[in-house]
């Protein structure tokens, strides 16, 4: 139980003489080969100068870690219990993605796996593109709370042209990683309170044709194997007979290996679980049957599918591999899947994204560059770019304005000249009409004079006539 005891006597360490301002002294500078160094610490590179930490960097941590024996019970063996208590308090999160064609029995399998009815409506077959639907549920068993998110692909394999089926899935997975990355990069972040929505396990439902994998299966799994833990399962396994099943499994494994697809392997490095896990690894893909109906078998109500010729019991190991899947997925390796998602898939994604954005750990002269420096540089470049664009826009704007002004001025001039000519014409017309009017007036006046003359002449001639007749 106690580790090996090795204690080196303290040597008169020369580092004490190195005086003031020396950050650390190394205890015992003898590189002795007899020491049992149980843990070797990593070597740190020196910190970049911009962190302003003065002389207090420790530029090598190859400190001699001594392994000591305890002379009594200290009590830190309760540390895992403390950790477990803390995690139980916080609750656990698990996210499953189910990929499979419509009608494969994905929702039924989820119901069977978690022994609840998640109340999902069966999807139609007529969707034009693959969509993902996610639901979150809170499950509790004894005092352990689990926040389970189940993501379903709706419409997978229903289109005539299936080339685009997996883009929606890949985008969804990337988006969850991206959300987490954004949260991690925030200045004010709260990682413990953040609801982790990254997909921890992906169940890929294979059609029970009995022949092999379809090409869409291969393409999709290949795209996903570096992003998520892919666990292939054979759906509706009660349609295949035992002998066909073994051949089918072999074919599937062959095809998977031939295409270099990295499906999730249960971890075999821990001694307690190694044997069980290796056995299970050989039985992938699991042939599962799900059922939401209960059938009376003997004197118990079991989950089963009842046919006229017999009953397929879900929890019977000789009928299907459901119990194995449940054992592996939930009872043994849930934590491991979360860890692999975080440590492998997420780190890969993060590295890729940061590299595409131009961040790297090594600058131009092969000097270690800190994240901050690169970020500052990028920000400055980005600002300059924006500034330049703004200037450009301003210039084009000014030019346009000028052009418009000259145009408008010309139009204005034209208008003025038109106005002038019109006015002139108008004046001329007016004069003409006035002339006409004057003449008309003159004629009228003459006419009046003549009329008056004629009137008076008539009177005189009339009297003459009268006088003549009387004298007779």
């Amino acid at each position: 139980m106690a580790a090996v005891a090795v204690e080196r006597p303290p040597s008169p360490s020369s580092s004490h003489a190195s005086g003031i301002g020396d950050g650390t002294s190394r205890e015992g500078s003898i590189p002795s080969s007899t020491s049992a160094r149980s843990v070797s610490s990593p070597v740190f590179t020196s910190l970049s100068p911009d962190l302003h930490l003065g002389d207090w960097y420790i530029d090598q941590i190859d400190e001699k870690i001594r392994t000591l024996k305890l002379s009594g019970h200290v009590g830190f063996d309760s540390l895992p219990d403390q950790l477990v208590a803390k995690s139980t308090q916080n609750g656990f999160t698990f996210n499953i993605l189910c990929i499979g064609e419509t009608g494969m029995g994905k929702s039924t399998l989820m119901d069977t796996l978690f022994n609840t009815s998640f109340e999902s409506n069966p999807a139609p077959h007529t969707l034009p593109a693959v969509k993902l639907k996610s639901h979150t549920y809170e499950l509790q068993e004894s005092n352990v709370r689990l926040k389970l998110t189940i993501v379903d692909t709706v419409g997978y394999g229903d289109q005539i042209n299936k080339g685009d089926s997996f883009t929606a899935i890949v985008d969804y997975i990337d988006k969850q990683f991206d959300d987490y990355l954004q949260e991690e990069l925030k200045i004010k972040r709260s990682l413990s309170a953040y609801h982790d929505s990254r997909i921890h396990a992906c169940l890929y439902f294979i059609c029970p044709t009995g022949h092999g994998l379809k090409s869409i299966d291969l393409v999709c799994m290949k795209k996903l194997d570096s992003k998520v833990n892919v666990i292939p399962v054979i759906a509706k396994a009660d349609t295949i007979s035992k002998s066909e099943l073994t051949k089918f499994k072999q074919r599937i494994i062959q095809e998977i290996k031939a295409n270099g697809i990295q499906i999730y392997q249960f971890p075999t490095d821990d001694d307690t679980m190694a044997k069980v896990n290796t056995e299970m690894n050989n039985q992938i893909p699991f042939a599962v049957v799900g059922s939401t109906d209960f059938v009376r078998v003997g004197n118990k109500m079991l989950r089963a599918r009842q046919y006229p010729w017999g009953t397929v019991q879900v929890e019977n190991e000789s009928h299907c591999d459901f119990t194995k899947l449940r054992e592996m997925l939930i009872r043994t390796n849930m934590e491991d899947m979360r860890e692999v998602t975080h440590q492998r898939h997420y780190e890969l994604y993060r590295k890729k994204i940061l590299e595409t954005m131009g961040f790297s750990d090594v600058g131009q002269d092969n000097q270690p560059v800190s994240f901050q420096q690169t970020f500052e540089q990028k920000r400055v470049e980005h600002r300059e770019e924006l500034q330049r664009k703004e200037d450009e826009m301003r210039q084009t704007f000014v030019l346009r304005v000028k052009e418009k002004e000259t145009e408008l001025k010309e139009v204005e001039k034209e208008l003025y000249t038109k106005y002038d000519t019109l006015k002139r014409e108008h004046a001329e017309e007016k004069k003409r009409y006035e002339d006409l009017k004057k003449r008309l007036d003159e004629e009228k006046a003459e006419f009046q004079k003549r009329k008056h003359q004629v009137a008076t002449q008539q009177l005189t001639s009339h009297t003459l006539t009268l006088g003549k007749t009387k004298k007779k």
């Binding site: 003031i20 830190f76 308090q89 413990s192």
Partner: protein, 327 residues
Amino acid sequence: MPQAGPGVSPVEGVTYVGIDTLQEQTRLKALRRGYTFNLLVVGRSGLGKSTFVNTLFKATVARRKSGEEEPLPSTTEVKTVSSSLSEGGVRLNLTITDTPGFGDHINNENCWEPIVSYIEAQYGRYLQEEQKVDRLLHIPDTRIHCCVYFIPPTGHSLSSLDVEVLQRLDKIVNVVPVVAKADTLTLEERAAFKERIRADLSDHAIKVYPLQEYEDLDDAPENMKIRERLPFAVVGSTTWHEIHGKKLLGRRSNWGLVEVENKSHNDFAYMRDMLIRTHMQDLIGSTAERHYENFRRARLSTKTTSKVNIVNGQDTDHMEDLNESKI
């Protein structure tokens, strides 16, 4: 029996799903990974810091100054010793950081600065590793999880140096104040001394661990009891004595034997229980979640000056900005 949460119909069937094995899985994983704990002891020389730490972990984890003293360093130095302990299958990498030269001079101005910069250097190093593009999976944790501050058993109250240092340390690390060499005080003197120290701490708004504002409701009653006992009056010893056939750790003098593990003699057992058996995980967790995050926030906000972006009138502190511009 699993019950479903909101929006889902309640349970059918009685079969066991197995979610509660998550606890066991977490435990297995924790056992495999091993733990790291970094302890910082601060106090004037001769207060029994190294003996105390050796008593706490029942192994010679700290170097005690032997008869031949080295010359007193003229500024506070920071020295670390790492050891690996194993108990019950649990591996613990323990690092004890000592501060010789603290408070031992005539002019003790700024004697806390090397300590403060050491603590911040550890945070800085963790931050740097965390921000790398190609980073290690398990970033080695050298951050100080707990700082034990030794108060000399004068019997009066906190000295001005104590106040100064505690005011600076409590914001960056979990501080547990401890009255050293408590066997020089009688029980009544101890109680009075603790009262005065507690009054001093609250007068100067020094927040010691366990912090009241961050605790969960479940831990509150336990933490209240711990707070009532603060600061712990401890006696350390690594010599075994035999009394009535039992072997005990203690200090023997002409008038009797002060037993280290006896709860009526001193608070060592309470201190040990709190530090190791109940609160160690919390110490590690709260350093990572609170103090480190505070440091990170402060460090990142000073580096990226928050000027308002002229074009779209937003703060450009955020990475999303770059994401948009990338497209």
